[in-house]
Symmetry: C2
Subunit: 342 residues, 2 copies
């Protein structure tokens, strides 16, 4: 077979403020790959099926001299993220043609993994859509599950406030908390999302763009657990309405990713209310909780106990737009790029 | 015996910004007490020897409608704080005349405790100065000891940054950390205090008024533990120079007690560096650690392992000035009011 196009999405320029759908990343179809003859050197050739778009990717769009927990994207090179792929050739006995794998992949159609350490064969006995493995059954679901186990110290009857509740992490947290008997207050940025929050069990759900977060927490709180995906003014409202001894799980602060941070004026509450605040990265908790997660969570998704929304775009060309929408909160559920069918 | 004056210090007005040495509290000698005949109703009569002046008292100088962990001072009533006193009459079998007690007392010369629950007899086998029991052997020492045990997760060779290092809490933390084999960076607000920090073992000591905190932490860090007494710009510097997985022990934020809080711009580091931040009030940890503290710490003070500075003022009339100096950081060591000799 002659070479085929191996389209890619390249990091084009470091954004100031929000990413630009047309400039931050660019689609490139200049490369080809010969799927039959490309050297594997003992590795595997994977056809990428689904790529994930996540909020944290904004942090990788930085000058490479700035250190952070996750390596920077390099201008001129493909961006990368969590993915599901199909093994189409293999020289590694742990992977066979036809296996579906979850992996971390460059944004391109075909990837040769000479080192298969990133790859995990997905058995998918539950028959979930493959895209779920970059969402509620993948990194975002693990984020919710692992940190809740590690940091929530949740007790039945306590009150948790979950931000970005319609996203893949937030919606998983809401449903985990409800299953454990907590009262859930959840926020999102549209009426449509608020309806979804209610449908998955949130006791109090509101649109933070039209309601006053602090007033709602004041009425429905005080809160024992705060799941923070947004930071800024919402974190200030959570500090103002935290119960004594509340736990703050700091998953992200998207309000500060694309603009100047908000001036939080009540950090002193950390002392007087004896708050415990936990920043975390899911990979740190993986060895402790991954096994339990994969044993338990896909089954709960399959039987309908854990619901989720997905916002799928077709084709690598949509990547720039999807990245922009996730940073703006315009996506309606977990954002994924469907690169190919099988 | 005829009645004697029972001088008091009354809360006079809620301060805006820093307390005013002459207006926030006022000295009052209008009351008398008959020490021989005052009714005890089964309680004890205590002559107050020493009263403590602590930073946290600023939080009690608020409108009574504002809730906080510690009850507000009431305008027209005596202020109150930790104290050491001498039992001069007793109808309670657990206390005898001549006992020294640590207690929580109104700022006045004589106090009748009908309920003796606040009183603890001080055996003082170590023969410490009685004032130490409102300082390094009392609440501030317990603050350092208890929270270090509970939250530091300290390991030999790690680096801790201690603010307000010359104060009773900070100086205890420095010496606890040194004894456990940590490298200590400590700050204070004068050259004299910096000399004290060095004398008690701080590896790096600096005057935060003349040096750049972030630069010093950048050179001597990154820090694994941050003991925060000040908040604000210093907390921002600690966030900027925190090691991955660092623990922040939030003991106080005096920079925000008397003025608008500083705008901290790098809270996002909490997430990316997986920081753990612990606010606490020492009373919450008392039942867990008091026994070990009283068994161990006075002995370490007596044998010179734990050193401290004391800034003693003579007489209740000095209370307003002492309160002001503590909020301004002008005190040179633990601030105490010596009310009477025995």
């Amino acid at each position: 077979m002659s070479p085929v196009t191996n389209a890619r999405v390249l990091f084009n320029e470091i954004p100031q403020g929000y990413p630009d759908p047309n400039k931050t990343v660019v689609y490139d179809d200049s490369q080809t790959i010969d799927l039959d003859t490309v050297a594997l050197d003992g590795g595997v050739l994977v056809k990428v099926l689904v790529l994930s778009i996540d909020p944290y990717m904004r942090g990788k769009m930085r000058h490479p001299d700035v250190k952070s927990y996750s390596p920077p994207f390099i201008v001129g090179e493909p961006i990368s993220n969590f993915a599901v792929g199909l093994v189409i050739r293999s020289e590694n006995p742990n992977f066979k043609v036809g296996d579906h794998v979850s992996t971390f992949a460059p944004f391109q159609e075909y990837v040769v993994y000479k080192d298969a350490a990133y790859l995990r064969v997905l058995e998918n006995k539950e028959n979930l859509p493959w895209s779920a493995y970059v969402g509620v059954a993948g990194m975002p679901g693990r984020t919710a599950y692992h940190a809740w186990k590690e940091y929530s110290s949740a007790k039945k009857g306590e009150i948790v406030f979950v931000t970005a509740g319609a996203g893949p992490v937030g919606s998983a947290v809401i449903q985990i908390a409800k299953a454990e008997g907590l009262k859930v207050i959840a926020s999102a940025g549209s009426e449509e999302k608020v309806a979804f929050l209610k449908s998955i069990g949130a006791d109090v759900a509101f649109n933070y763009k039209t309601a006053n977060t602090s007033e709602i927490l004041s009425e429905a709180g005080p809160i024992d657990i705060y799941w923070d995906n947004v930071g800024g003014e919402t974190l200030e409202a959570a500090l103002a309405n935290a119960n004594h001894g509340a736990r703050f799980i700091e998953c992200g602060m998207i309000s500060a990713y694309n603009s100047t941070p908000y001036f939080i004026k009540n950090l002193i509450n950390i002392v007087g209310r004896e708050l415990k605040i936990f920043g975390f990265i899911v990979s740190t908790l993986a060895s402790k909780y991954d096994e339990a997660f994969y044993k338990e969570f896909p089954q709960r998704i399959a039987n309908g106990e854990i619901k989720y929304l997905e916002d799928a775009k077709q084709g690598l060309k949509e990547t720039g737009q999807a990245i922009y929408e996730v940073q703006k909160g315009l996506n309606k559920g977990k954002s994924v790029i469907v690169v190919a069918s099988e």
